[in-house]
Structure formats: structure tokens, C-alpha cells
């Protein structure tokens, strides 16, 4: 398999909620080993796009993951194929302990030994999680919850990780940490599709970027190019 092989290809995907079309004809592709970020303002359809890919909402169009058509496949099946979605708002099971949350991440796996090893790796990435293993996940702070969510997703050994707003509601230093970790994870060979509001950070870590505006792709390109683009700044800050 070549270095630049496409791991995920989204072509002409549209999603409708009742009479409202949330995204229309969105197309982009994620290459193996890269971080692609999907940015855009609130309501632009970023989350919907992720949900369409992971089979949580019905969509029209084609989604190919590792050369297989996956549009309409149930999310739990996709997890077994290596596509993990870390949802917006973290999706922590607040009624369970941190450890149980982690174990659920490895739900599809039965290789106890390997899981244990992977857990150690997660603890290396997030030492704070290890300290709170027995604690109820609901009592963690926002940043810790986000770490737990990412760590949990890693335990499924994903080939492609969908991250939805990992910086949401986090203090700036924490945001830095999270992005550092995202980069580390990527360095370990996991492709990442990152949805972010924090455009600046996202464009710093990503290789490629897609800008969504009201449900449509407004721009695509190298993250570094887009970072310099005034369009993006304008979209976010309203600078003239």
C-alpha cells in the first residue's frame, strides 16, 4: 500500500433532517496517516458530516472506507473495521468508572494482553487518567473527560479516528495539550479526521483542511495554505 493511499473518501454526501438539509454534496478524502481537519462556524454541518460517515445518521452519496462502501453501515460494525468516532460532548458514560469507560473502548477486542499494553500506552499519553481510574467518569473535569474519550477511542485500535471538537470548553493550556496528543496519536499511525472550531489550532496540526460553510464545502487545501487565508479569519472573527 502506498504512502498516499486514501483511507476515507466522502463523495457527494448529503443529509437531511426533515425539511432542512444539513449538508449537501460534501466531498473530500482523507489520506492514510494524515490529519484532515474540517472547520467552519457553528451550524456549518461539521458534526453532521462526521455522523454521516460513522453511520449515525442516514445520508445519500458515497462513503468509502479502506476501499469498501460504508454508507449506511451501522456504527458498531464500523468500529470493528477500524473507524472510531469520538463524539461531540465527549460521550463519556458518566454513570461508570473511568476504568469501565476505557474497557468499553476495547469492547470489540478480546486479546486481554494486547489490551493491557494499549492501556499502558494510553496511560503514557494521559497520565492523569491513570490517577483517576476508579473514579466515576462523571466527576472528571472537562479536559480529563476529553482525554478519557480519546484514550477510550484509541483502545479500539482505530485506523481512522473521527474527533469532534476535542477542544470544546477547555482551557487554553489544555487545548494545547490535547492537540499535542492528537499529533502524537497521528504519529503512531492513526489517520485522523478532526472537526474543530478552534481553527487556528486545527490548522496547525492538520495536513489538509476542508472549510464548510452552511452545509457546503467552501474551500479545501493544505492546512498551511488555509491558515494564511484571509477567508478563514473572516469567517471566524468578522475582520473586514
Amino acid at each position: 500500500m502506498g504512502e498516499n493511499e486514501t483511507i476515507l473518501e466522502v463523495r457527494d454526501v448529503s443529509v437531511r433532517y426533515g425539511a432542512i438539509r444539513a449538508i449537501s454534496n460534501v466531498s473530500f478524502s482523507v489520506k492514510r496517516g494524515e490529519i484532515l481537519t474540517l472547520i467552519g462556524s457553528n451550524g456549518a454541518g461539521k458534526t453532521t458530516t462526521l455522523r454521516a460517515i460513522s453511520g449515525m445518521v442516514r445520508c445519500t452519496g458515497n462513503v468509502r472506507f479502506m476501499d469498501q462502501e460504508i454508507a449506511g453501515t451501522r456504527p458498531d460494525v464500523l468500529v470493528t473495521r477500524g473507524l472510531c468516532h469520538c463524539p461531540e460532548g465527549r460521550g463519556i458514560f458518566a454513570n461508570m468508572s473511568v476504568e469501565e469507560n476505557l474497557n468499553l473502548g476495547a469492547f470489540i477486542r478480546s486479546d486481554k494482553h494486547e489490551i493491557e499494553k494499549d492501556k499502558q500506552r494510553v496511560f503514557e499519553l494521559f497520565p492523569r487518567i491513570k490517577e483517576r481510574l476508579k473514579q466515576n467518569a462523571g466527576t472528571l473535569s472537562g479536559g480529563e473527560q476529553q482525554m478519557l474519550a480519546i484514550g477510550r477511542a484509541l483502545l479500539a485500535r482505530p485506523k481512522l479516528l473521527l474527533l469532534d471538537e476535542p477542544s470544546l470548553g477547555l482551557a487554553p493550556q489544555l487545548v494545547q495539550t490535547i492537540f499535542k496528543i492528537i499529533r502524537e496519536i497521528n504519529a503512531q499511525g492513526v489517520s485522523i479526521l478532526l472537526v474543530e472550531q478552534n481553527a487556528h489550532m486545527a490548522l496547525q496540526v492538520a495536513h489538509h483542511a476542508v472549510v464548510l460553510e452552511v452545509g457546503k464545502v467552501a474551500m479545501t487545501g493544505l492546512a498551511s495554505d488555509l491558515a494564511k487565508s484571509d477567508e478563514v479569519r473572516k469567517a471566524y472573527l468578522g475582520h473586514g
Partner: protein
């Protein structure tokens, strides 16, 4: 007695130790247009919920036109003259557009069960007055041609406008708009900005606006308050805000020096 129409002083609430809103102060004079901005999860909507009584404030006070309204129940606050829209549109989706607006006229009427059942002259007249007023309101927003349609069948932009229209039909003194431009395209946004200004003139009310679209906020607001993690991080005119390093950091994640 305060000089402001809406005087919010130091309100706050925390959910299980997390301070969702901490000591927010917003003061709007009659006819003022005030923006409330901040990144996702900064506590803007929580602030709205506190002001409109959906949550009880744990500290601070809210005064509307000289009347203390915190600790009133939401419908009483609405009656006192505070009306709002919602971030994730909360129309009465199975009801017709007209009925949505007529419902908003509700709090200015008197409704007895006996009158309803017997269709007393008073009741009939009031219904008619409500209908007339609702149609008038729809007219202002050019929605009258959709009056008979179920609200859920409206296109997104129209739903947003209907929500504002509905909020105005309660005859408020202060209007709270929660991300009215979300999901609108640029031309719709432009029109929205126009109509917000127009509304303020025509209905002589003060507006408190939550918005993500900075262009819109900077364009129409006289004063802006910026929230992050429940705290007020900046307060001032649009240009002051735009150049405030703290705001840039909160928004773009850029260090202040960038």
C-alpha cells in the same frame, strides 16, 4: 432605580461544582443593542436561561424596567416584557405558523374556560384581535403567505424568522436572541441584521444578542460582552473587542502576540 431597561447584575449559577455562569453583568438602555459572544460552551445560553427564569439564579439580580424579575417564573418574566428565541429553534412544530404567533399573544389576553366553551362575545373578540395582531406581525416578517403551514414544514431561515416574530408578538420590552443567524447564508444574514435593527426601531425595544457570526455582531451591536468559561473576559464597543488580545486568544486559540 437603575437607568437601564434591562439591568443584569452579577448573576451566576453552577451545576455540580462547574460554574456555568459566574457573575455576569449586562446593562442595556432603552433601544440598546447588546451582543453577547464567546466560544462554544462559554455560558452564553446559560446566561439567557438565567435571565429568562428557565434556571434560577444563585446570585445576582435581574431588573427589567425597574422591576426585579429574578425569582419570577418564566411565564411571569415573559409577561413582564422579556422575550427570547432559542439556539436550537423551539417552534411549536405541529402548530401552524399563525398559531405559533397567536400563542405568543397569549400572555396579553384573558382566557377563561367558560368563555372558551361558550364562545362568549369577549372570547370571540379576543380571538379575532389575536388573529389580527398575529397576521400583522407575520406581515412585518413577510411570513403571512405561510400562515396556514405547519411550522415544521418551513424552511430553516423562515423558522428562524418565525421564532423572532413569535418572540415579538409577546410585546416585549427586551428581546433576547440566541444565535439567530446560525445556519443562515450570507445574504440571509445581511437581511437578518437589517431586520434586527428595524425591529429595534419599530418596536422600540432593547435587544440582547448571542451570535457566533462576528461580522453580524460587530456590524449591529453597540456594546459587546465576551464570555469564556462562564466569566466575562471583555466588555466594550465592537472595535475595542476586536482588538482585545484576550478575545482573540479565546476565539482563535492564537497567543496574544500573534
Amino acid at each position: 432605580m437603575s437607568d437601564y431597561l434591562l439591568d443584569v447584575r452579577g448573576i451566576g449559577i453552577s451545576f455540580g461544582g462547574l460554574k456555568a455562569c459566574d457573575g455576569l453583568t449586562v446593562q442595556i438602555p432603552t433601544g440598546g443593542l447588546h451582543g453577547l459572544i464567546g466560544p462554544n460552551g462559554a455560558g452564553k445560553t446559560t446566561a439567557f436561561n438565567l435571565i429568562t427564569g428557565v434556571y434560577r439564579t444563585q446570585m445576582g439580580s435581574v431588573t427589567l424596567d425597574g422591576v426585579k424579575v429574578d425569582h419570577l417564573r418564566p411565564h411571569e418574566i415573559a409577561k413582564a416584557g422579556l422575550s427570547r428565541t432559542f439556539q436550537n429553534i423551539r417552534l411549536f412544530s405541529e402548530l401552524s405558523v399563525l398559531d405559533n404567533v397567536k400563542l405568543a399573544c397569549h400572555c396579553r389576553g384573558r382566557h377563561t374556560l367558560l368563555g372558551t366553551l361558550l364562545r362568549t362575545p369577549r372570547f370571540v373578540a379576543q380571538e379575532r384581535a389575536m388573529t389580527a395582531r398575529a397576521i400583522e406581525m407575520l406581515d412585518v416578517f413577510s411570513l403571512q403567505h405561510l400562515a396556514g403551514e405547519q411550522a415544521k414544514n418551513l424552511p430553516y431561515g423562515d423558522q428562524r424568522r418565525l421564532e423572532i416574530c413569535r418572540a415579538l408578538a409577546t410585546e416585549p420590552k427586551v428581546l433576547l436572541l440566541d444565535e439567530p443567524a446560525a445556519g443562515m447564508n450570507p445574504s440571509e444574514k445581511k437581511a437578518l441584521a437589517q431586520s434586527i435593527k428595524l425591529i429595534r426601531e419599530q418596536f422600540k425595544l432593547a435587544v440582547l444578542l448571542i451570535e457566533h457570526d462576528m461580522g453580524l455582531v460587530m456590524d449591529i451591536c453597540e456594546k459587546i460582552t465576551v464570555l469564556d468559561h462562564g466569566c466575562t473576559i471583555a466588555h466594550g464597543t465592537p472595535s475595542e473587542i476586536q482588538n482585545n488580545p484576550k478575545v482573540q486568544e479565546a476565539y482563535l486559540g492564537e497567543p496574544a502576540t500573534a
